[in-house]
């Protein structure tokens, strides 16, 4: 097989330099066997332009830092093989999040804010006794919690969501999924009304208009549609009883 020449169109913009304007810069790179976008971007930065800004940490789809728009699709760059892409590749940073420069965005601030607003931690009045035996949980429940807990907070569901793009306070699929995780956790003592207080609103589950870009784009395949529908039904019942 002859080697392909890849053409990258990469979004360039530095918000720190007020006079600069956003534009798409073109880079050429010969494709290599097993090349991921992680490898390609590092090659471009090493060999062609050391000022190119992008984020990677684990390069194994665990840390969630390399979410970006790859030919428009919000997904993880480290998990994306160039052989699965056409020779023309467009890279843009994830929308919604604060743009730090080029392909690099700050997802952390956004996720921390949503975690605080949705009170995404186990609420309990029990005092922890380190000597006591752990309380048991059914394997089924544990697996359900784990399914939601797999979220790596890469922000692909948020960047792809048109509602999140126009409503800055909308918690999106990641936020709803996070609350759904505590709803099934028996250690959390909150009742349904306490959950309604944090997600039963237009900024929460009732802000979702069902575009399902989150469900189509989650790079690790969390069943976000099911999670959203589950929380929506729960909150409809809770709201009805108010």
């Amino acid at each position: 097989m002859s080697q392909r020449q890849l053409t990258f169109h990469i979004f360039r913009y530095n918000p720190e330099t007020p006079k600069s304007k956003p534009d798409m810069q073109v880079f050429m790179l010969p494709e290599e066997p097993g090349m991921t976008l992680f490898i390609a971007l590092n090659k471009i930065r090493e060999e062609q332009d050391p000022t190119l800004a992008f984020d990677f940490v684990c390069r194994a789809g665990i840390c969630g830092s390399c979410g970006m728009l790859i030919n428009g699709k919000p997904t993880l760059a480290c998990k994306t093989l160039t052989k699965n892409l056409p020779a023309e590749i467009t890279l843009m940073p994830l929308p919604v999040f604060k743009l730090l420069g080029d392909l690099s965005v700050d997802t952390g601030t956004w996720f921390r804010d949503v975690s605080l607003r949705t009170e995404a931690w186990v609420h309990t009045n029990k005092t922890f006794d380190p000597m006591a035996e752990e309380e048991r949980m059914s394997n089924e429940t544990a697996l359900q919690i784990y399914e939601a807990e797999r979220c790596i907070e890469c922000g692909c569901c948020i960047g792809g969501c048109a509602t999140a793009n126009i409503k800055p306070d909308f918690i999106g699929a990641a936020g709803v999924n996070r609350v759904g995780r505590f709803m099934i956790d028996p250690r959390d003592e909150r009742d349904e009304q306490a959950y309604y207080d944090v997600v039963g609103s237009e900024d929460g589950i009732f802000g979702c208009i069902g575009l399902m870009a989150c469900d189509d784009n989650c790079p690790i395949g969390i069943p976000l549609r099911e999670q959203l529908a589950y929380v929506r039904r729960k909150m409809a019942v809770a709201g009805w009883k108010r």
Binding site: L69, G160, I166, E202, G210, D215, L228, A229, A236, R242
Partner: protein, 211 residues
């Protein structure tokens, strides 16, 4: 906590709006499909169509239908207006976003909003025409065999599309469904309902031409 949030802590209204939107939407889908099946009685001949129309007028079902459609469309409109990006900046964002991410269900929502807005006007015209002219196979045939043919063709496609996408979204948001098989089923149903509507229009058109 801000002042306005403190005043609106009991947020039942936001759930209510959501329920009004979904329930009125589902009712309108049911109405549309029933309506199109009734109109298709023309396939059995002008006699069958007139008999059905006469029956509906006699028992005030037509009045009931008009009252129902005005109330339900009104409720649906009131509930969905909050979903349509109102500011110019938001409009630019959603269209650009849809172009960038190339996502089918995001595009279908934009078309849903566009067809919905257009249909408000079309529904008003349609209801006025029916209320003032009454229902009769000859009248309908005359209308279809005029420039209004285009009105009905556009209206048919828009209404069936809007209903189909709306039903899909309501089920996806609330239900226990498999999204992709649901989409396939609804596509087939929509094609069938459009074909049924086109068949009725064709019969009216040839009736209008033969007079």
């Amino acid at each position: 906590m801000q002042l306005q949030r403190a005043f609106t802590q009991n947020r039942k209204a936001e759930l209510w709006m959501e329920l009004v939107q979904t329930v009125s939407g589902l009712l309108l889908v049911g109405f549309l499909w029933t309506h199109m099946i009734f109109v298709a009685s023309i396939l059995l001949g002008a006699g069958a169509f007139n008999k059905l129309a006469h029956f509906m007028e006699q028992f005030y079902l037509l009045h009931l239908a008009v009252g129902f459609i005005i109330l339900t469309v009104g409720a649906h409109l009131g509930a969905v207006l909050r979903r349509i990006p109102g500011r110019w900046q938001e409009q630019k964002t959603v269209w650009r976003h849809a172009k960038i991410i190339r996502h089918q269900d995001t595009w279908s929502w934009l078309f849903q909003a566009v067809t919905g807005s257009a249909m408000l006007l079309l529904i008003i015209i349609h209801v006025f025409v029916v209320v003032y002219a009454g229902i009769d196979a000859k009248l309908s045939a005359g209308r279809i065999h005029s420039w209004m043919l285009w009105f009905y063709l556009v209206f048919l496609v828009m209404a069936e599309y809007h209903a189909s996408v709306g039903l899909y979204r309501a089920l996806v948001k609330w239900g226990f469904v498999k999204r992709h098989s649901l989409k396939r089923v609804l596509t087939v149903v929509t094609i069938c309902t459009i074909l049924l509507g086109l068949a009725s229009i064709w019969v009216f058109f040839s009736l209008g031409g033969s007079v």
